[in-house]
Symmetry: C2
Subunit: 199 residues, 2 copies
């Protein structure tokens, strides 16, 4: 009875396209929305249309933004000589939340993954190289995920950046703050040992 | 940086109003939506606006519907002499999915709950009584949740329906099909015993 022509059935169908939302959860959400004042649904619909209309990639750093250049690229207080390369906008936000990094960003929107068919041309590496060749950048920080794909991307970037004479660094690997050595995995402990520092 | 003026921040804010969606899940959903083709967000926005524009209560049974009277009330093959009273549209759908019930429905949109301040006037009981007084109905099936609120509502309806000379029944309580007696709660076993039937 709840077919695609029925507005409720359609809403359930559209909600169930979201990640982690099955048909039962979608139905629960849809009936919740129907029980609430219409403003809830209207505001959500407006917000969805708004991101479609306004959000695009920053022409400099490829961050998702409504203004071009984005908040970070247009902030004169941020050091344009240091560029932190991240896989995703979420990673950018995580680093920004630390309030410790005052340089610029560059979002690759992924990492090299030959198994998934993601090569260098699928990432925003060309835009990064254009930025680096402008001569303003002195250091590139690879803040990619500590995965096979992230590490492969870092090594790939190393090959590209080395000839430019720009310093290329990566995030320190080691024991997470507040964690327990007993439960820290072996690979992390190996990295923590090899990366040990003077007290 | 992600304030209410930023479209992404607004989308995250609106998504986090949904039940079971915290800020982290909302951010995950928002960035998923941003990575997908715009049709995903547009279709969801249209579906949301559509339910706002088109969905209302059926003037007969109070089911949520785009057409008035609703699918069930306008189905001539359904017996108008039997009305199944449910708390919610979800309960209506659950009963309809059994394909065993061929009567009509009536949705109360809740159950009596003095502690939550929900009295008879907050439910669609008046509309039910109008239907019953038309003289067409011979049986009312109370398919309310087996909770204190549902049982209280059934008893309340009994007081109202008895003077009309209409048969009032309720769903059978007992052991769920496929369950294990060892793990069936005491209250259910008591009801299953007292409601035992000839083999």
């Amino acid at each position: 009875m709840l077919d695609a022509k029925d507005p409720i059935g359609r809403l359930i169908g559209e909600l169930s396209r979201l990640p982690g939302v099955g048909e039962k959860t979608a139905a629960r959400l849809a009936y919740h929305i129907l029980r609430q004042p219409k403003a809830l649904a209207r505001n959500l619909a407006n917000a969805l249309n708004d991101v479609c209309d306004k959000v695009r990639l920053c022409s400099i750093c490829q961050n998702l933004t409504a203004d071009d250049p984005c908040f970070y690229c247009s902030d004169a207080k941020r050091d344009p000589a240091v560029v932190c390369v991240v896989e995703s906008v979420q990673a950018l936000r995580a680093i920004d939340r630390t309030n410790e990094f005052r340089g610029r960003f560059h979002v690759l929107h992924g990492a090299l993954s030959p198994l998934d068919g993601i090569g260098p041309d699928d990432l925003h590496i060309g835009e990064l190289m254009t930025r680096l060749k402008s001569g303003e950048v002195r250091e590139v920080i690879c803040a990619l995920n500590p995965t096979i794909e992230g590490d492969a991307t870092t090594l790939y970037l190393q090959r590209l950046v080395a000839p430019l004479g720009i310093r290329l660094t990566r995030l320190a690997h080691g024991v997470a703050v507040g964690s327990d050595l007993e439960y820290t995995d072996q690979a992390t402990l190996v990295r923590a040992l090899s990366g040990r520092r003077e007290v």
